[in-house]
């Protein structure tokens, strides 16, 4: 067993874990964050995407033990219990989700991408959006609604100048 301190969604906790415990499992169990989903456990589907020190990371390919001292964010910290982040609102209005299982992974992957585009003050083209989300698989929507949601989110931000 190994002692680690994780800051997750702003809350710091020290805990003891077996080295082999996946970060995804520790976030789901010890931190009760059911928004982290496991779709494949081998890095192919993106469902388990979280932010590790600000960067998207597959939590099924990360051992919690490696994250001692790190700052982690999951979908629960994006927009709160009412999903108020504008990308989440865009997913809702553009029908970018159906069963919702892949959705947290997409949100965590795409939030930084939206920020990047807003920072560059431009609307990405379709190919760029699809490349940015190419590590996340959805079996329900056919992706059109997700691409539309990204456009909506970037568009809204560019328009409002924020």
């Amino acid at each position: 067993m190994i002692d680690i301190t994780l800051e997750v969604n702003g809350v710091t906790k020290t805990l003891q874990v077996e080295p082999r415990r996946l970060l995804a499992d520790v976030l789901r169990e010890e931190f009760r964050l059911s928004g982290v989903h496991i779709g494949c456990a081998h890095g192919a589907c993106g469902c388990c995407t979280v932010h590790l020190d600000g960067t998207p990371r597959l939590s099924c390919l990360t051992f919690a033990a490696q994250c001692d001292g790190a700052s982690i964010r999951t979908v629960e910290s994006i927009g709160g219990p009412n999903a108020e982040h504008m990308l989440q609102q865009a997913f809702k209005s553009e029908h970018g989700l159906q069963c919702g299982y892949c959705t947290p992974g997409f949100i965590m992957t795409l939030v930084p991408f939206v920020e990047e585009m807003v920072g560059q003050k431009r609307m990405p083209n379709d190919a760029e959006i699809r490349e940015a989300m190419s590590g996340n698989i959805c079996r329900c929507t056919g992706y059109h609604g997700i691409v539309a949601a990204v456009r909506k989110a970037v568009g809204t931000r560019l328009e409002s100048g924020v």
Binding site: R20, A41, G43, G46, R57, L58
Partner: protein
């Protein structure tokens, strides 16, 4: 699909890492991004008794003295995208990186991890063989430099000895009158390649002075297309000879039959990709 138990060690310095790896021998593995290793561990296909976390080591760098490009083992794949050296002198390298996995994998995977894992179709393994890279390995016994052509021995097997780890890769910098390209075909974008071809061509006064061609998918390791390389020597830089060079290579290989593709299909595919990669490299140079 969860890993077997192991002991975890955090290396605080390179020397510390090497001491630990020496102690654990065959039962110890370094872990960086884990993008190749952890899937194998989750499937329990890899069961190292000890993992040495090397993420804090200062091995994340891309430097050049004009002659040699030196890349630290912990350099993440996205680092190449806005590196002017790579863009200018190693176009095939940059092309290849676009094919690696998907964005999150590229943010976290490292060159050291990728080539140590030695998947038969790992893009960076092919790139190392293409550019005649030298792989720099360290152990408590010291440094060892291994030429890329001798580093990859078989699928998932490298020339690294127990206790050794990759600390960097050195590639000779091609001259400014050079060009290149890398094309890959996979069943799905980001998937393991069915086949890939990388090309690096040096030229002078409109003629090819040196051609280097690497192929993934013909064998269990990346191989060079020597017949095609020799054929292109001295030819004009206008892609007219691309199809003949490709034919020479395709007829020389003996690819496998598997559930993804028949040997015949692979041979045909490799011939086509070789032709297109040579054409793309030539056109790139002519457009400049």
């Amino acid at each position: 699909m969860r890993p077997a138990s192991f002991e975890y060690h955090r290396a605080t310095s390179l020397e510390h890492a090497l001491e630990l790896l020496a102690e654990f021998g065959e039962d110890g593995r370094p872990i960086a991004g884990g993008q190749s290793l952890v899937p194998m561990m989750n499937f329990r296909l890899a069961r190292p008794g000890h993992l040495v976390d090397i993420n804090k080591l200062p091995l994340n760098s891309i430097e050049s003295d004009g002659q040699m490009l030196r890349i630290g083992a912990l350099t993440r794949h996205i680092a190449y995208f806005d590196n002017p050296l790579i863009a200018r002198h190693f176009p095939a390298f940059l092309d290849a990186v676009h094919y690696i996995g998907h964005p999150t994998i590229r943010r976290n995977g490292s060159i050291g991890g990728s080539i140590s894992h030695a998947d038969p179709t790992a893009e960076l393994a092919a790139v190392c063989v293409l550019y005649d890279a030298e792989i720099i390995a360290r152990s408590t016994a010291g440094e060892r430099r291994i030429r890329a052509g001798e580093f990859f021995l078989s699928a998932y097997v490298t020339a690294l000895e127990p206790g050794e780890m990759v600390v960097g890769v050195e590639l000779p910098v091609p001259p400014s009158s050079s060009t290149g390209s890398f094309i890959e075909l996979a069943e799905r974008s980001g998937d393991f390649a069915t086949a890939a071809i990388g090309v690096s061509i040096e030229f002078s006064s409109g003629r090819i002075t040196r051609a280097s061609i690497v192929c993934s998918g013909a064998d269990l390791v990346p191989i060079r297309a020597r017949e095609a390389e020799d054929f292109l020597q001295g030819k004009p830089l206008d892609a007219a000879e691309a199809s003949e060079a490709a034919r020479l290579f395709a007829t020389s290989i003996d690819p496998v039959d598997d559930h993804i593709a028949s040997a015949d299909y692979r041979r045909g595919l490799i011939g086509k990709l070789t032709q297109r990669a040579i054409e793309a490299a030539c056109n790139r140079a002519l457009d400049k």
